[in-house]
């Protein structure tokens, strides 16, 4: 995959975009802190996974941090977010704590989903975060529905629906695009294009002309390409798409080029075979969103190597504490298995007392 920035043309500087111009130094440093915390969390998750502390899959976000952070930084009270299974960063970006996230990975009752969701299913409706979904593109109609709900209630907001480049060939996604344009739904589809749908490169998985987002034209939708290594660019372009949703109730597709340093998941045995080590190294050295943001802030005179190190250290400390929290937390019990199935039985309503809801024994 090539970077969206051509080497022959000087890239635009989005620092001067309206949505970025007003940022304070503290906000910019907060984004650095958040990206650093996400990377620390993901690195530690991998260590803990390898140490046998969790089951199932683990899809790491390392290399893509700017995307979730940039998007979450734009969210207001009526903006909502939903994504697929590579969801830890989005969860942390909307303000979920490392403790509840790590505990969820450990399958503990203190996890954000009480140990019932796991790595792919983090949720925080109180922070307008609706998951964490395991089926590729299965969340795309749900994101549409969040936008539908906003419009139905007359609220000025945007539904941000993330998907990977591997999701763009699913029928549910195309059905969602048609409905989004037809019903004028305030939804922004954000394709996090890391170049690979598991082990299959974009070229081997998708038919397209210039890029994946361009398919929007078939649905008469606006679209744009974003260089995901630049937090300013993400905020600038996504900010426009969100305004289009909020003010005009019109959908968009943004394709954000990004890169994951690790495999599709930790179960991706061929993660270092379908990509060359040189390719991975190139991204780490020249396109790492956190390094680039750090350099940018140093250049702007609002961050120093020392203060950045202090932030890194603080993030590592927070992660260690979350591991301790997760380790020491109780696991769910067998009695918890049939809670959280039905709202009516959980709330012990009159309706829940009529008829048999569960068929054990």
């Amino acid at each position: 995959m090539e970077s969206a920035t051509s080497p022959n043309i000087a890239p635009l500087d989005f620092a001067g975009s309206p949505v970025n111009k007003t940022l304070t130094s503290d906000q910019k440093i907060d984004y650095y802190r958040l990206m650093t915390r996400i990377r620390s969390f993901e690195r530690e998750s991998l260590r803990q996974y390898q140490g046998g502390k969790m089951g199932g899959f683990l899809h790491l976000y390392i290399g893509q941090e700017s995307v979730a952070v940039g998007a979450a930084s734009l969210m207001g009270d009526n903006d909502h977010m939903i994504t697929a299974y590579r969801c830890h960063a989005h969860a942390l970006a909307v303000g979920m704590s490392m403790n509840e996230c790590m505990a969820e990975l450990f399958g503990k009752a203190t996890g954000c989903s009480k140990g019932k969701g796991g790595s792919m299913h983090f949720f925080a409706p109180d922070k307008n975060f609706w998951g964490g979904h395991g089926i590729v593109a299965g969340q795309t109609p749900l994101g549409l529905g969040l936008g539908y709900g906003l419009k139905y209630k007359g609220l000025e907001g945007a539904a941000l629906c993330f998907l990977g480049d591997g999701a763009v060939n699913q029928g549910a996604y195309h059905e969602s695009l048609n409905l989004a344009a037809l019903f004028e739904i305030p939804v922004v589809y954000i394709i996090e294009n890391n170049g690979y749908s598991m082990g299959t490169s974009q070229k081997r998985s998708s038919a397209f002309k210039d890029c994946l987002a361009q398919r929007a034209e078939a649905y008469d939708m606006d679209w744009d390409l974003v260089n995901g290594e630049d937090l300013y660019e993400i905020r600038a372009k996504l900010g426009i798409a969100m305004e289009r949703a909020r003010k005009q109730s019109r959908p968009s597709i943004l394709e954000i080029s990004t890169y994951r340093y690790y495999g599709h998941s930790v179960a991706d045995a061929r993660a270092t075979e379908y990509r060359s080590p040189e390719e991975i190294q190139k991204y780490k050295e020249h396109h790492d969103p956190i390094s680039l943001w750090k350099q940018r802030l140093i250049k702007e005179g609002i961050l120093t190597e020392e203060s950045a190190k202090a932030i890194d250290k603080e993030a590592r400390k927070e992660v260690s504490e979350s591991v301790k929290f997760a380790d020491e937390s109780p696991a769910p019990t067998a009695n918890d298995i049939i809670d959280d199935v039905y709202w009516e039985t959980d709330n012990n309503t009159e309706a829940s007392k009529i008829g048999r809801h569960f068929f054990n024994d």
């Binding site: 998951g131 964490g132 549910a172 048609n178 809801h357």
Partner: protein, 327 residues
């Protein structure tokens, strides 16, 4: 009591719930301007307008999923599948999202949505349009399923389904839409029927015929024949709701009659009646004087031929024959 058609009973339920709760919205293919493929939503778009009654394109995965997403924000969509047979193109949404999202979120989300439409054979439309998936969906914890047989039950259950805070899948029947039956007048007050409550449609003492949906009518017809031609007094238990399930009504009836024939338009393999049979053997084994028997749809994809389809489905004659093997 006044008598109205099954479709109009449903229509009344929608009209009343649209009036009661501004978050209720009807959605589906041809439900608005066309007045419903089976005229179930007739007149509602004209009365309630574009916001409350919404035509969708033929795009089940898209619009069903959209409804689920909207319901997470507190909208109460009532989604029509023109045929429940079309569930297969929206299966991921119907199962992974509607049934599981609450659980995977540790109870932080609920999905107050209704999915509805006809689920039946008997109209010579071939295998793709004749599925009866009530047992299939009842097998997913997180979902509720009901299947009304009469106009009153259709209205009462639909209103309850719309008010329920979990996903409820209502299985109607194109062959029942035109049936007339007594339904209380709205002027007499709010009429609802709870989920999970069976109804004894005919009292009897010799054998229990346990059914849901249109099979209830076959069981009732069979019961009259058994009475008049064989002096067998059959009780007909209408489950109405598949999940939650009124197990007490089933067991009480079998304890009384000591014999049971289950009438079920599902296919026999792991259909609704398979579940009922296992409950009876678990909870009324000592009360049985004969094996539990079943009358299901004959185990093949739905045949088209108008000459023979009724023989593939449960019918009164097949029920009588099966009863006579054990009574």
């Amino acid at each position: 009591m006044r008598e109205i058609e099954y479709r109009d009973a449903l229509n009344e339920a929608f009209d009343e719930e649209l009036a009661r709760d501004e978050n209720v919205v009807l959605m589906g293919e041809e439900v608005a301007q066309y007045n419903g493929a089976y005229k179930v939503t007739r007149g509602l778009w004209e009365k309630w307008g574009d916001k409350r009654v919404v035509d969708t394109p033929i795009s089940e995965a898209g619009f069903i999923g959209m409804g689920i997403g909207a319901s997470m924000l507190g909208i109460r969509p009532v989604m029509e599948l023109m045929f429940w047979s079309f569930h297969s193109v929206a299966f991921d949404q119907l199962v992974n999202n509607a049934a599981c999202v609450r659980y995977m979120a540790g109870g932080l989300i609920n999905v107050p949505i209704v999915m509805r439409g006809p689920a039946n054979g008997g109209t010579n439309v071939g295998a793709t349009h004749s599925h009866t998936p009530e047992g299939l969906f009842a097998a997913f914890p997180g979902l509720k399923v009901c299947s009304p047989a009469t106009p009153a039950d259709a209205k009462g259950l639909m209103k309850t389904a719309i008010r329920d805070n979990d996903p409820v899948y209502v299985m109607e029947n194109t062959l029942l839409y035109g049936n007339k039956g007594p339904v209380p007048d709205p002027a007499e007050g709010d009429f609802t029927i709870p989920l999970g409550k069976a109804d004894i449609k005919r009292e009897g003492s010799d054998i229990s015929l346990i059914a849901h949906g249109r099979s209830v009518l076959h069981a009732l017809e069979a019961a009259e024949k058994l009475q008049s031609e064989h002096n067998i007094n059959a009780e007909v238990v209408d489950l109405r709701s598949i999940r939650p399930l009124d197990q007490d009504a089933i067991i009480n009836s079998v304890v009384k009659t000591n014999r049971a024939v289950l009438v079920d338009e599902s296919k026999p393999f792991c259909g609704v009646s398979a579940q009922i049979a296992t409950l009876i053997q678990e909870h009324a084994f000592d009360h049985l004087d004969a094996p539990v028997k079943r009358v299901c749809t004959i185990d093949a994809p739905a045949i088209y031929s108008p000459h023979i389809e009724d023989e593939q489905l449960p019918n009164a004659r097949r029920v009588v024959e099966q009863v006579l093997t054990i009574a």
